[in-house]
Symmetry: C2
Amino acid sequence: MPGTNVTCDIAADVRLPTRYAGYSGPVVPSGGVVARILEEVYELCRSDTSGTLADYIPELAAVQPDSFGICLATADGRVYGSGDLDTAFTIQSISKPFTYALALADRGPAAVAERIDVEPSGEPFFEISLDPTTQRPRNPMINAGAIAAAALVDGADAADRFARIRRSYSRFAGRQLSMNEAVYASESRTGYRNRAIAYLLRGAGIVDGDPDEAVDRYFRQCSIDVTVRDLAVMAATLANNGTNPLTRERALSRPLVEQVLSVMTTCGMYDSAGDWVTTVGLPAKSGVGGGILAVLPGQIGIAVYSPRLDAHGSSVRGVKACRELSNRLGLHFLHVTRAAHTAIRAAYSVAEAPSRLRRDADEMEVLHEFGDLARIFELHGDLLFAGAESAVRAVEDTPGRLEALVLDLREVGDVSPVAIRMLDDLEAELAAAGCRVALVDPDAKLGHLVSSLDPKDPRGRVFIDRDSATEWCEEIILDRHRPPGQACPAALSLDEHPALADLPDDERARLAKEFETRTLARGELIVARDSPRSGLFLILDGRVRFTFTDRDNRRHRLITLTPGLSFGETSMLANVPFANDVHAETTVRLAVLSPDRFDALTAQAPEAKLALLQRLAATAYTQADAALRSVATHPSL
Amino acid sequence: MPGTNVTCDIAADVRLPTRYAGYSGPVVPSGGVVARILEEVYELCRSDTSGTLADYIPELAAVQPDSFGICLATADGRVYGSGDLDTAFTIQSISKPFTYALALADRGPAAVAERIDVEPSGEPFFEISLDPTTQRPRNPMINAGAIAAAALVDGADAADRFARIRRSYSRFAGRQLSMNEAVYASESRTGYRNRAIAYLLRGAGIVDGDPDEAVDRYFRQCSIDVTVRDLAVMAATLANNGTNPLTRERALSRPLVEQVLSVMTTCGMYDSAGDWVTTVGLPAKSGVGGGILAVLPGQIGIAVYSPRLDAHGSSVRGVKACRELSNRLGLHFLHVTRAAHTAIRAAYSVAEAPSRLRRDADEMEVLHEFGDLARIFELHGDLLFAGAESAVRAVEDTPGRLEALVLDLREVGDVSPVAIRMLDDLEAELAAAGCRVALVDPDAKLGHLVSSLDPKDPRGRVFIDRDSATEWCEEIILDRHRPPGQACPAALSLDEHPALADLPDDERARLAKEFETRTLARGELIVARDSPRSGLFLILDGRVRFTFTDRDNRRHRLITLTPGLSFGETSMLANVPFANDVHAETTVRLAVLSPDRFDALTAQAPEAKLALLQRLAATAYTQADAALRSVATHPSL
């Protein structure tokens, strides 16, 4: 079989970095809320001294019968533990899902399925349970299936095949695991029944090569030494899609993790699988070495070690501790949560939460009247089918017409392929109805890169922040609903600027001659942060952008100002430096009243200056109020 | 058995409202993104005409072999469908989980477990599969277990017991279901094997009463007519914790839903359970009537109807459609998501995002220096163990000391008991370390009501909004870190108010005599929204609160002002009405410059007025900038 149909996602020559040799992980030994819960479960289960040690080989009966350890590792790599965390014991049958995983990776699921079925047998682990028709072992968790899986592992020769198994387990555990020679020697010497199974499998054509080699590999894999901490990390690696959360190394591809967990669910606990699913509800595997490993997909790996076994061959305290942990921590994998389907975090219109672009009164009025035609949907959580369905439904159910839509995906976690397709379909559906879509998706979760600046692309656009997306939607609304007579905001003359426009002619003339006009190129710095008072600036044409840098050195747009607005008042009045950088966002024309002229006006024309200040202050106050209001009412706050 | 150990969560006398008679649900027949996906799966599966009709009674062979319907209902009640949605067929074995559920509700899980095990049998449904030792049927999904479950249903007599079954199913379906008399008569006439099973069960002591009554009830339940839409709603009711998402009626208690889904997982698809879990991965049940029902807990119910059956007795197209839907929609219940464990939406300090209480410069400085000792954690998603663990860890891992903490729980969904306990423990741990906790939890998700106003309670406090909680934390920081010489913000005289304090003596005196002093009681309205310009107000003592009402008629605090600040400028300068209501939050002392006096100053003392305006404008601009900055950088935006 070597060389045929090899789809290997675990490169045979990958070696763990030596820093993981002897690595003992970041267990939090005591203290803290979670550690205390573990401690309670530990104390509760410790008193149970029922059960008996496995004794079919002397090595298994030679362990400390009172040894007991519980370890829990989260899918993002935090490890909690209680009791004997560093006691080594042989992995035994807990090896089965991991060798099965390697066989799946080496041969592909279809080829493995031809040799090993996935049906629960309803029988103990030592039963041979071959399908009467196909001769396939009923599943990879009984010995027959496990030996068949060991036979399917790729490699140059027997030594290489076992080395690949050991390396694979080590990758799951995040440290170099080694084999217990004494246990292996004993197993190998006394494992008549397993040897018989291997011969039966060879006779049935399930095992192709040397049956002795296959069963020898199986004995070796069962004899690998682990600690309860290793098993918890191995479980957490399964919980984390196959990537070890401590080393960040991938141990198994994602679809195969699902396959392995499925088989553990139905077949992992042998003839008590039904009871286990009902009362514990976690894919799991136990071994006669005294270990149990259980997985809450996406969340948690659990391992328990205590060598006294029940009639099914599983650790007594292990079963009890898993049951207690599942009940107390609410880990049952069918546990239903209310909020699982809600992907909409907030939904509102641009009329309710406009962009930070300050617009003139005419435009504000258009947006006030038609802003409900452009809506913003903030999504969150994972976008699997149910989440995507709720998002699509919310958009499709929006009463009335939609002309522009912002979908903010920044807080979305995992996006499944069907969700991507559904949102693509939604975009197409909306485009056909004349609604354009702005995706806020800087990480390209939907696979679209931030698009070029072509504003005519009918598919809509991708933005890196919500404010720019909102501004883009506002432009769409303005383009469509601006009254026929009303032009785009155009250049103003100084006399037309609202700061002066409604003053008596003589006062306006008096003030106007104090201003000088200045033109700046796109991108040019107008005033730098920390500049001293630099004048009073009236915007006649173009856009002016205020930005600042936060503690984390990230640059933020504070606001963009358009013709008819002004800036520099704070600095002028309070005699303080500029708090922000001010740049020309486009070509900009400004009228500037210098500090000297401004100060001189107090004596020369106090009433004109008062009138000017009054107008500027009124605008600024109104804008400050709008800003405060958006803080106070923003649907996201 | 009647009368003993009855724990009934389904009242026998509850009748469905008549509006559900003939109720046909809100199916979305076509159009929309989700409907289109269903349509594709429908078309794909329709071409498969393999399989044969059940023919052990003539009624089952008399159906339209080409009938085919797919229906999907979300856990919040949206129904999508494709094909024959209103064709009636008999429920057959899909009745088994629902009668098992009723038996669990009537007798309690322990009493039911004494009679029916939950282990997969690995055998076809017609096998008798009694445990050789206990004589219990292996599980409630094979005929033997289902007949045992039917025998356990409570009721006054045989008619009442079946009536309770029918009512229970109807509650799941959201409409009155009825029995197909012809199918029942046929089943009853020819069901020798099932009658034999009932007698065996009676002999083994599993069925207590008349075995003929038990098997008759089983024939009747199997003969209840349903549509694929009914089955989808029944599945969605299981997905939704046992509450029908359309009628909002509870059909089953939550822990029993988990039990029923667990058994469906391991035993629902008979001898193909393992393959089903691996390739479909949804708790499910099929019936020889041609129906299949599948559940994604918390999210979705699926049903398919197509009467041609495979060798296991399950609908050929049904199995195929479930597999397609699971693959295309990513519904496998072990599907691992990346973000499942992250409960922290945002974390920041009060120094980064202060409350809306405007404080004087001294206090601002203290908060700037020590504000990192008070942190705000916004949580989201469901707080099950893994989510609570990530939240607790984030708090416990905060570098340095914590003196005050806001936990904002408003965006949290489901909170499990262990999460409540963990957060309680965390509070106790923090209290012992001198850190006080403010919960933002208006819905009492953690079970604590919004507490009294006693600010000395060492356990911390519960708030209805984050801003008040943040303000409370700021007070803690101020109390602990105010420099020894610095008093709490105290009353000012008019001369000390920053609007006048640094003016030349003569100008200050000139202005001061224009102000009048006014004292207001706590809660008193100072200026109503829409009032015309009412004066310039300087705060000398107490706190002044601005509030406004949004489109949805919710009242928001805009800001609170303290001594040394001022208000009314906008209205005075721009001659516009007040945009907000202004109330005294405490007893308040104000200095007021009336509009008349203010206007008169232009002529009488223009330079003094300019100087005053300059100071007021500077403060207002600075505050506006701070407000804008908090919008631009708020971690939640």
